[in-house]
Every structure is written in C-alpha cells, then in structure tokens.
C-alpha cells in the first residue's frame, strides 16, 4: 500500500491572464475535478522512504506523468516510447529534495502547454530540513521557471516546434511584475530567518537567477546535496534542472530578485520575470 496517494485531473480548456491582459491557453493539472485553474499544477510532496501513488483521473490515453528526477522504474516512468500509457503511477521517494512532474507525451508541446507542477521530497520525519540531518530552514518557497510562446497555441499556421519564440517569461506561471504581488512567490521574511528556495526550470531557455542582495548558498541540485555549497553571484540553470538555495536575510529592506531568460544562440536576454525579497 502506498504511504501517500494523489489524484490529479487535467483541464484542457483553461487560460491564464498575463500582465498585459492577454489570456494564454494552458492545460493545467488540478487536484480536484472542476477546481478553478491552478497553474502550475499542485505541489505534491512525500517523505523520504515513502511509497507514493499518483492517479491521472481523466487521461483518455493521451498523456502521462513523468516524475522528473525520481528515477521511477520503466512502467512508472511515463514515457510512451518505452512503456504503454498508464493512469496510475507508483514509486519510492528515497532522496529528499526538489523534483517536478510533467507530461512526457509529445513533450515539446504538452510541457509548453503547462502540464507540469512541483514535487518535493521532505526528510523522513517531515521536518523543515533540506534533507535528513541537513540544514534547517524557517520557511520554504518554490519558484517554477518557464516561458510561454503564445504562437504555439495557434493551429493556423501550424507551429514548427523547433522554433521557440517566447513572449511571456514566468515565475510560478506569472509574468512581468505580477510575481511581485504573488504571495507564493514574493519572499517575505525576517532578518535572521533561513529561507529554503527551491528553483525548478520547467521552461526551454537558459535562465539566470539573481536575488538582488540577500546572501545565499546553493546547497543541493536535482534532489542531491552538492559536494560543497556554492555562492555564485548569478545562478544559471537550464531546462529540467533544480537548485535548492538557502537564503540568509540579514539587512531589512526590499530587494529585487529577477530571472533573465537568455536566447539559446546569442545569449541576449529575451525576457525577464521579477519578484521581491522583503526582509523585516
């Protein structure tokens, strides 16, 4: 028997409003039938050592879940090219850290349509530590990074998915300055806190993350502790990667954090998403 069970639904007629008022179509997951649009999909979590079962409720044989980084066995890996499509996935979560799930059928389009969400594995005791015996934190945040190319929603002309020209640049599904007022994104803390920030790159362009001042340390990546913590001035990450940061707010103030998304050939900034870290 599974220690945790989740049931997810797919909504195929939803959209999210961008800062300029344009609605962009998404196919988001939700944890109840008919729930108001939640994008990205709900945060799934389990503890180290737990077996988890996730059921895809209204799949219609078109989609899969891939639990990225969990290293599930082939029947539960969600890859139509290696195993027939199933609706129920069972796997063991044996390393605390940051993961994500996404559809792995025609992934180039389905991931772009927003079929993804964050997955977090907590220590065995569920405590506020990055991993069992690892560093403690006061409060966790997840930033899921991605972009939208609204032209990929058009059927005429039919898009060529080799050509990605995003026009919206997101943190947790919001673009422009909107992430500044999003309670799940803008970091609010007190000097002396330790914030765990889980970064997940669900987009297609290389992203550069800068926090605007508060000291931080990169302690883990892809669900594993780093051999030694790092403190680069700018953290660069690519599609599919995750990084866990401990932020040590020390001086009260409001800091502008930003994610710059770079062109994959020229490395020029194609777009930026902004949020804030407020230290009381």
């Amino acid at each position: 028997m599974a220690d945790r069970t989740y049931v997810l639904w797919l909504r195929k007629s939803a959209s999210v409003r961008m800062h300029d008022g344009v609605n962009v179509d998404v196919w988001p997951f939700s944890d109840s039938k008919g729930q108001a649009t939640l994008f990205p999909g709900p945060l799934l979590a389990s503890n180290e050592g737990q077996t988890v079962q996730v059921t895809f409720k209204n799949n219609m044989n078109e989609h899969t879940f891939h639990f990225h980084g969990i290293d599930a066995d082939t029947p539960n890996d969600g890859v139509p090219e290696t195993w027939p499509v199933v609706d129920t996935y069972t796997f063991l979560t044996d390393h605390a850290g940051t993961y994500w799930y996404h559809c792995h059928a025609n992934t180039v389009l389905h991931q772009q349509m927003g079929m993804y969400g964050p997955y977090v594995v907590l220590p065995a005791d569920g405590s506020n530590r990055a991993w069992s015996g690892g560093p403690a934190f006061t409060k966790p945040y997840v930033w899921m990074l991605s972009e939208f190319d609204s032209s990929w929603r058009l059927s005429n002309p039919k898009p060529n998915y080799a050509y990605f020209n995003p026009d919206y640049f997101l943190i947790n599904g919001k673009d422009g300055f909107d992430p500044i007022v999003a309670a799940d994104t803008a970091i609010a803390c007190t000097a002396g806190d330790t914030i765990l920030l889980r970064l997940i790159h669900a987009g297609y362009l290389v992203a550069q993350v800068s926090l605007g001042g508060p000291p931080f340390s990169v302690i883990a990546s892809d669900g594993r502790p780093l051999p030694s913590p790092q403190a680069p001035p700018i953290l660069e990450m690519a599609s599919g990667e995750r990084y866990d940061l401990l932020i040590f707010p020390d001086v009260p103030g409001t800091y502008e954090a930003r994610v710059d998304y770079l062109d994959w050939y020229t490395r020029k900034v194609r777009g930026t998403a902004r949020t804030t870290i407020t230290v009381l």
Partner: protein, 323 residues
C-alpha cells in the same frame, strides 16, 4: 570504444607503449616535434598518427532529407558527421594530417590543445602535440567560424590514461565500459545557402534538426553509443560532447549520474545530477551506475532539440537498456 577508427586503432597499437616523458602539453612546432623524435631514436616513442580529409558531402535527416554538409573523413573513407573519433593515451605524441579535398579553406583545432594552420584547397598540413590530461575534447574546423562547425566539421578527441584505460584519469573513477555521445544541431537554411555558395548571416541561427552522434531519434537507436545496453551493477562512463552552437540540457531517466570532469579537467567535487546543460564547444564526462533494470531515455530537455524539424521525439534522444 566502438566508434574508434579500426585502421587508425590498429596502427596506433602497433606503435608501442614505451613510457613517454610528459612535458608541458600543448602545441609544438613540427620542427620541435621532429627534434624531440630524433632525440628519442633507439627506443623512443613514435607518434600516434591520424590523417583526416576535409570534404563536402551530405547529412541525412530523420524525415528523409539529404542536406548539403561539410565534414571530416578518415584517410580513405567517406565523410562522416561527427568526424572519426580520435584517441590517444595521456602524454603520447600525436600528429594529425589534414588534407583539404574541399573547394574552400579549412583547418583543424582541438579546443584547448592545438590549433592548425589554414589549409588551402588541395593542400595539407600537420599538427603535432602531446596528448593532454585524460578526458574528452572537441576537434573542429575554426575556418569561417562558426559556419563550418554548424555544417558538420567536428568530432571528438579522447585521451585515456597511459596505463589504466578503465579509469577516467590515472587514480580517477573506474568504469566497466565507455560511450561517446556527440550532440549537435543544424539550421537547414545555412546548409541550403552554403550549397549555393550564397552569403550566410551567422548572427541568426534557427536550428531545426538535432543530432546524437549525427542522427535524430529513432535513426540514432541503431548506434550502440546512443542505445546503450548493460546489466544491473555495472558502472559506465559517458563522454558528452556538444559540437553544436546552442546548449543541450541532457536528462537521464532511471538514474542520476556523477559529473566527474569537464573539458578534460577533473571536478573538485562530483555533483550527482539527473539533468545538466552541456554548453557549445564543451565536454562533460559522467559516471553512471546501473542500479535498476529497464528501458530509460536520455534526452535533451530543451525540448525543441527533442524534435526533427518540429516533430517529436525525433531529435536528441538515446536509450539505456539494462537487464
């Protein structure tokens, strides 16, 4: 070592394995190399020699197109993309003779190791150097950069330890077998323009075909370096080479891997990852333990590169088949 050129390998094996005094790695002039050889008469090592030819040819796409391309061929063979895999042991003398069979000027450079002179059509030139630290390197044509590389003029140069071929470097991580995975891509419009000798604006690059060892999936699946077979309990080394002009963010299903080396330099600490970008012109050596059986893809998570001209999953995707 499946991709090694057989004749070159046999020739190299015949050269002997006398210990080589390792001085500073890097480019030596041919004269200094010959002087070094002369000093070693009577027991000194002979060079490991390769001959490559710069040629025009074509590359096949996963959807059946044949596109004009430029590439490297071995001494007698047809052009291949990537070019022939070149191998040497640490500290060995290596010579590469490049003969230019193509109508434009070409050359050869090994990133961080040696740069040869431009070679005019019909001409040839030789570079000589000592094999650097064990690891994975890229050779390519630096002429008309980055055009010739984008058209297919690249390959891998691998240096193995002198006495411990199943370690990444002497005293480094051990493995049962090793695999070479060269990822790249092309912008079809560059190939079309190059075939017509038309001007190309290399400030704009819109790649639409993506390759693992020169093929898109599933064409690549016949390549034993792309579809890797093994058994539970084995440890393998994968040498990732990005010969293209854009990053490729490689993700393994089923397993995490250890990043042990980049560009021929050992990492200070080995990161355990399931997804990492390999940047253009860079290499990465990763160690992977087969700790479960199954069939798992390895693919580029920059998903445009998981397509062939926009069709999924016809781009950069390999497989692990583990029993």
């Amino acid at each position: 070592m499946r991709r090694i050129d057989r004749r070159a390998f046999l020739k190299a094996c015949a050269v002997g394995s006398g210990a080589v005094a390792v001085t500073a790695s890097g480019l030596l002039t041919l004269e200094s190399f010959r002087a070094e050889g002369a000093r070693r008469v009577g027991g000194g090592p002979m060079p490991r020699s390769y001959s490559l030819r710069a040629r025009e040819g074509s590359i096949s796409t996963v959807d059946g197109k044949t596109l004009y391309a430029r590439g490297f061929a071995d001494e007698v063979g047809a052009m291949s993309i990537p070019g022939p895999a070149l191998w040497a042991r640490e500290g060995e003398w290596v010579t590469i003779t490049l003969t230019n069979d193509a109508p434009e000027e070409h050359g050869i450079a090994i990133e961080g190791v040696a740069v040869g002179p431009p070679v005019r059509p019909g001409g040839s030139a030789e570079i000589a150097f000592q094999a650097p630290h064990p690891g994975t390197y890229i050779y390519h044509d630096p002429a008309e950069s980055p055009l010739n590389r984008a058209l297919g003029m690249y390959g891998a140069f691998v240096v193995v330890p002198l006495d411990t071929p199943n370690r990444v470097w002497s005293g480094g991580p051990a493995f049962a077998r090793q695999y070479l995975q060269v990822v790249s891509e092309l912008d079809e419009s560059w190939n079309a323009a190059a075939s017509l000798k038309a001007p190309i604006d290399t400030g704009t690059y819109r790649p639409n075909y993506f390759f693992l060892n020169g093929r898109g999936f599933p064409d690549s699946d016949v390549d034993p370096n792309a579809h890797i077979r093994g058994s539970v309990g084995e440890t393998i080394l994968i040498r990732w080479v990005n010969a293209g002009l854009v990053p490729h963010s490689l993700h393994t299903h089923g397993y995490h891997f250890l990043v042990v080396q980049q560009d021929g330099r050992p990492e200070a600490g080995f990161r355990e990852k399931d997804n990492i970008p390999v940047y253009p012109g860079r290499t990465m050596d990763v160690i992977l333990d087969f700790d479960q059986a199954g069939l798992y893809p390895m693919h580029d998570h920059i998903l445009m590169a998981n397509t062939g001209n926009g069709v999924y999953p016809k781009g950069i995707m390999g497989m692990f088949e583990v029993v």
